[in-house]
């Protein structure tokens, strides 16, 4: 049985990754999950300097999911290089570093600092975080801005890049095409959908930032649709995510066109979720007589 997939020249032992921001740098969940089993660890978004993030409350539960407005708190790329990457090097898994910034220069700074890190296999560029005021999502909601920043980053990146797309757009196909046209090696989607929760007794927003990003099973149908639309619009590989809780969900994304899949908020519900997805995919392949996982990618048209 072959479960390896290839994304932009990088080979993953299986398609299952962690969604950025839901798995720390891998350290926290290594108490639950043998990281060697994962296709890749995708780290929390990192900027050129430490970011303090947003005020609390930063998270709120909603029906079938959660809102978050962490605001990309991160210790900066230097700490990532000194602490997190060495930790991850001991594992036989691929490492994708998620990069955030407020200006094009911010992104370029991080990308350059990571360029000689052999422990970093790919870079995922987060231009779709709805929780920071400047930069972030602005790049991710306009095809022209996305094209420009992708092009600029691509000039400086040594590793293949994955542009991470926002679902908060009219046409995901257009955004996917812009990323591809500018040279992105792959795309990932979806980031969270902007949402809001109001506490009707306290008459306040449940999240200090007012809005937060919606994730979890609630968004899965939107994510599957967008992965389908995006993967039909471009020829670069797609990494799908949004509400994946189990192998059935992951397979749904792959049938829709995803080459890789990531587990996000459901790690919080089930810290073993990534392992369960990997084992469930193998079971499905056996039951369905599928020898090569690549045969199911985009198989439902």
């Amino acid at each position: 049985m072959n479960t390896t997939v290839n994304i932009a020249g990088v080979t993953f032992k299986n398609p299952v990754m962690t969604a950025s921001g839901t798995f720390g740098s891998g350290m926290e969940y290594s108490e639950f999950v043998d990281l060697n089993r994962l296709g890749a660890v995708v780290t929390k978004g990192v900027a050129n300097v430490p970011w303090p993030g947003n005020p609390t409350p930063r998270v709120a539960e909603v029906y079938g999911g959660m809102l978050n407005a962490i605001g990309l708190q991160n210790p900066g790329v230097e700490v990532m290089i000194e602490r997190d990457l060495p930790f991850l090097k001991d594992y036989d898994t691929k490492v994708i570093v998620n990069v955030c910034g407020k200006s094009t220069q911010d992104y370029v700074d991080v990308v350059e600092k990571l360029s000689d890190q052999s422990g970093v296999h790919m870079l995922e560029i987060n231009v779709s975080c709805p929780n920071v005021k400047e930069g972030g999502i602005a790049f991710g909601q306009d095809p022209k801005a996305l094209f420009e920043i992708t092009k600029e980053i691509k000039k400086h990146a040594k590793q293949p890049i994955i542009m991470k797309l926002s679902p908060n757009v009219t046409s995901i196909a257009e955004m996917a095409k812009a990323a591809e046209a500018a040279g992105s090696d792959a795309i990932s989607l979806i980031n969270t959908i902007t949402g809001m929760k109001i506490d009707i007794y306290r008459k306040t927003f449940a999240i200090a930032n007012k809005t937060g990003g919606l994730s979890g099973p609630a968004i899965k149908p939107v994510a599957v649709r967008m992965v389908y639309e995006a993967s039909h619009a471009v020829n670069i590989p797609v990494i799908g995510m949004g509400g994946i809780a189990n192998a059935e969900d992951a397979i749904e994304f792959m049938l829709a066109g995803a080459t890789g899949v990531a587990v996000g908020a459901m790690n919080f519900h089930d810290p073993y979720a990534t392992l369960n997805v990997i084992e469930g995919i193998e079971r499905y392949m056996t039951e369905q007589g599928i020898d090569d996982i690549n045969d199911i990618i985009g198989a439902v048209k």
């Binding site: 969940y29 639950f32 430490p50 609390t56 930063r58 029906y63 962490i70 708190q73 900066g76």
Partner: protein, 266 residues
């Protein structure tokens, strides 16, 4: 430290101990690793709610492998928990958090201050400080617990471990007012304070600690998603740059919930 786990625990007993306050005993291997001030995450079975509910450990029996938690019915998750009967199983995540630094109590005059639903974790602490197998015995233990009214849950059990003062909002028992009023009224002195309760009370405790030149260790609450330090949802503001985050934020779920009050921007 043992690895964190998500496992099924068995309900051994559950009782109502005050209006809307439940006392639940669970059989689980996690009891082995429990310390006062730590907590577990409890997963409701209701499939529309996916996040674990953080609930402090009120007590534990390592020989029998049981955990005790005392919680208020606050919303849909705790309302569901309140329906569990002996023999039911529930998924829990733990052991979470750092717990109270009981070593700071050694040979010291300890003051334990709790308010509302911050009271339960302090019972396990008082017991450990009085009877624990470590060398952390306090010289003496004074306790001040604040309640809304005469439903002073757990008060009788606290009395086993030292001198207990009570404050009630409606004045029905002890001092009428809050826990700080009770501390003042009784001119309580101490070297070390351990506390858990609502944020305004904790601010009062930190101030009172300054007045009496005591060290204060306080247990904080915040909305949590992962409970294990990964999501950065549950931070509190620190005076200095935090070692892990490299900004002035610490994670309550892993770096806390108990902090040296001097380290915090309250």
């Amino acid at each position: 430290m043992a690895k964190k786990k998500k496992i099924a625990a068995e309900v051994i007993a559950q009782d109502v101990i005050a209006e809307g306050i439940m006392d639940l005993r669970l059989k689980t291997d996690l009891a082995e690793d429990a310390n006062p001030g730590q907590f577990i995450g409890i997963y409701p079975k209701n499939k529309s709610t996916l996040l674990p509910r953080p609930i402090s450990i009120c007590g534990y029996d390592k020989n029998e492998g049981t955990l005790r938690i005392v919680y208020r019915i606050a919303g849909s998750g705790t309302a569901e928990f309140a329906l569990y009967r002996p023999g039911n199983h529930v998924d829990i995540l733990g052991i979470l958090g750092n717990g109270f630094p009981t070593d700071k109590a050694q040979g010291k005059r300890v003051l334990i201050i709790g308010g509302g639903i911050g009271v339960p974790p302090l019972l396990g602490l008082a017991k450990e400080l009085k009877e624990g197998l470590g060398e952390n015995f306090a010289e003496d233990i004074t306790m001040v617990m604040g309640y809304r009214n005469s439903e002073t849950f757990l008060a009788d059990e606290f009395r086993n471990y030292g001198n207990l003062f009570i404050a009630t909002e409606d004045g029905s028992v002890g001092t009428k007012g809050n826990v700080i009023d009770a501390c003042r009224e009784n001119k309580i002195e101490a070297d070390v304070i351990f506390s858990c309760g609502p944020m305004p009370m904790l601010r009062g405790v930190a101030a009172y600690a300054k007045e009496i030149s005591a060290k204060a260790y306080i247990s904080l609450e915040e909305r949590m998603a992962c409970g294990v330090g990964a999501c950065l949802g549950c931070i509190c503001k620190t005076k200095n740059v935090d070692e892990h985050s490299h900004v002035n934020n610490a994670r309550i779920c892993t770096d806390g919930p108990v902090f040296d009050a001097d380290d915090l921007e309250l």
